[in-house]
């Protein structure tokens, strides 16, 4: 059968539609705006998006200080005038100075307490634990990257085996972190930053002194360094756990730590 589309169109056109009520359309606009707004404000970000947003709020001075430290190291390493044994001494300096890298992030982590923001931050969706966790993750990864760059840069020029270099860098780093985490656990105020600085200075002094002790940085002492490394790692993990437990403890003693779900 031949379809007369034009005829059908004419017939269909008779089915007209009454005009809509303009008031109904206005109501639709109002309700639509309210619905959109509700949706917009009901949406919540996940932890990873939160993490990326926290990156923006880390103080620029931290990144600047890390860049300066890294550039100094790279500058020292790139000096062609240093012989291999001189480079070993330069690397010892890095080992003694690495507590500085560990320390750099802690005032940033502690700033909630130092600036009286903890009370507000503690009541938000992402609790103090997640906030501190995010800061520690960002700064910890940054530190790890820096240490990797120092290692990689030094490995080529220094005659020291890579394993020993890892130990010489990570043991002072771990020890400093442990000290600062202990401070973080017990001191929730502006003074925390000063105590962390004291820990850093102490660690630099101790490892500097040890660098003058004959045999401390020798091959024979590698076993001792390995033990130190694992001990400091275990202590680091313990202090990290304790520090996390303490983050929700703003106003009460150790015995009253909240068992707040994450």
């Amino acid at each position: 059968m031949k379809i007369n589309e034009r005829k059908i169109r004419e017939d269909l056109a008779s089915f007209s539609v009454p005009a809509y009520d303009p008031e109904k359309m206005r109501e639709t606009v109002q309700l639509a705006k309210a619905a959109y707004r509700e949706r917009q404000f009901a949406a919540r970000i996940g932890f990873w998006e939160f993490l990326s947003m926290q990156l923006r709020f880390i103080g620029k001075w931290v990144w600047l200080a890390q860049v300066v430290l890294l550039l100094s190291v790279l500058l020292a390493v790139s000096r062609r005038s240093f012989a291999v044994n001189e480079m070993q001494h330069v690397f010892l300096v890095f080992s003694c100075a690495v507590p500085l890298l560990a320390f750099l992030g802690f005032p940033e982590i502690l700033k909630s307490y130092a600036h009286g923001m903890a009370e507000i931050e503690g009541c938000t969706r992402f609790s103090m634990r997640k906030l501190m966790g995010a800061r520690m993750l960002i700064l910890g990864l940054a530190d790890l990257c820096c240490m990797t760059v120092i290692l990689a840069a030094s490995a080529a020029r220094s005659g020291t085996p890579v394993l020993r270099m890892i130990l010489y860098l990570f043991v002072p780093f771990n020890v400093t972190c442990c000290g600062c985490l202990t401070v973080l656990e017990h001191v929730k105020s502006r003074q925390g930053g000063y105590f962390c600085a004291a820990v850093c200075v102490l660690c630099i002094a101790v490892f500097s002194q040890l660098s003058f002790v004959k045999g401390f940085y020798e091959t024979a002492a590698t076993g001792m360094w390995i033990v130190l490394f694992f001990c400091s790692l275990a202590y680091f993990a313990t202090e990290l756990f304790r520090a996390f437990r303490s983050f929700d403890r703003l106003f009460c003693s150790k015995q009253e730590t909240l068992s707040v779900p994450w």
Binding site: L12, F15, V17, P18, T28, Y36
Partner: protein
């Protein structure tokens, strides 16, 4: 203003952007719903609900298709849900509503009767294609997207729908 720009404006928080979007498509969606439902109040309610649904689920509109098509999809689903819940109204009541809304002669009312009756006799998929093609002036490509079918299937449904309509309307003319 094209849809992409409108969506960008809505996302950026422009308070008037939603206004503009609704102004742009309200009439089309309303007409479509009216021809589906046959009652003005139902059409207006479903049109409103379609826009509210669009706003509530704005994130899921990924702009893979046109905004207009997405609105038609929502409207189509809402009409189907509503029709499922309601029992079909007798033609006489539709005639009454039409008379009250449009003060026209009986001849036109009878013409509406026959067109509506003819459309009602079509299977749902064919009716949808006919409505979107002849009343909303959409391209077959867009219709295919709205009904979530291939282009050839859509063309086939259009052809079948026209064939059936032709028979029905021709029969009416003779009568």
């Amino acid at each position: 203003m094209d849809d992409e720009r409108l969506i960008r404006r809505i996302k950026s928080g422009d308070k008037n952007a939603l206004d503009d979007l609704i102004q742009k498509y309200y009439n089309d969606i309303y007409k479509y719903c009216y021809r589906k439902m046959g009652r003005k109040s139902d059409a207006e309610d479903i049109t409103q609900e379609a826009f509210l649904h669009f706003c509530r689920n704005f994130d899921s509109y990924t702009q893979r298709g046109k905004c207009r098509n997405y609105l038609y999809v929502i409207a189509r689903n809402l009409c189907a849900n509503t029709l499922q819940k309601k029992t079909s109204l007798p033609l006489s009541s539709i005639k009454e509503e039409y008379l009250s809304e449009n003060d026209t002669g009986l001849k036109q009312v009878d013409a509406v009767d026959s067109v509506q009756a003819a459309l009602k006799q079509l299977p749902e998929e064919q009716r949808t294609v006919i409505l979107l093609r002849f009343y909303q002036d959409l391209k077959l490509k867009d219709i295919a997207q709205i009904v979530d079918a291939g282009l050839s299937v859509t063309k086939y449904r259009l052809y079948q729908g026209l064939k059936t309509l032709s028979k029905l309307l021709l029969k009416e003319d003779w009568l």
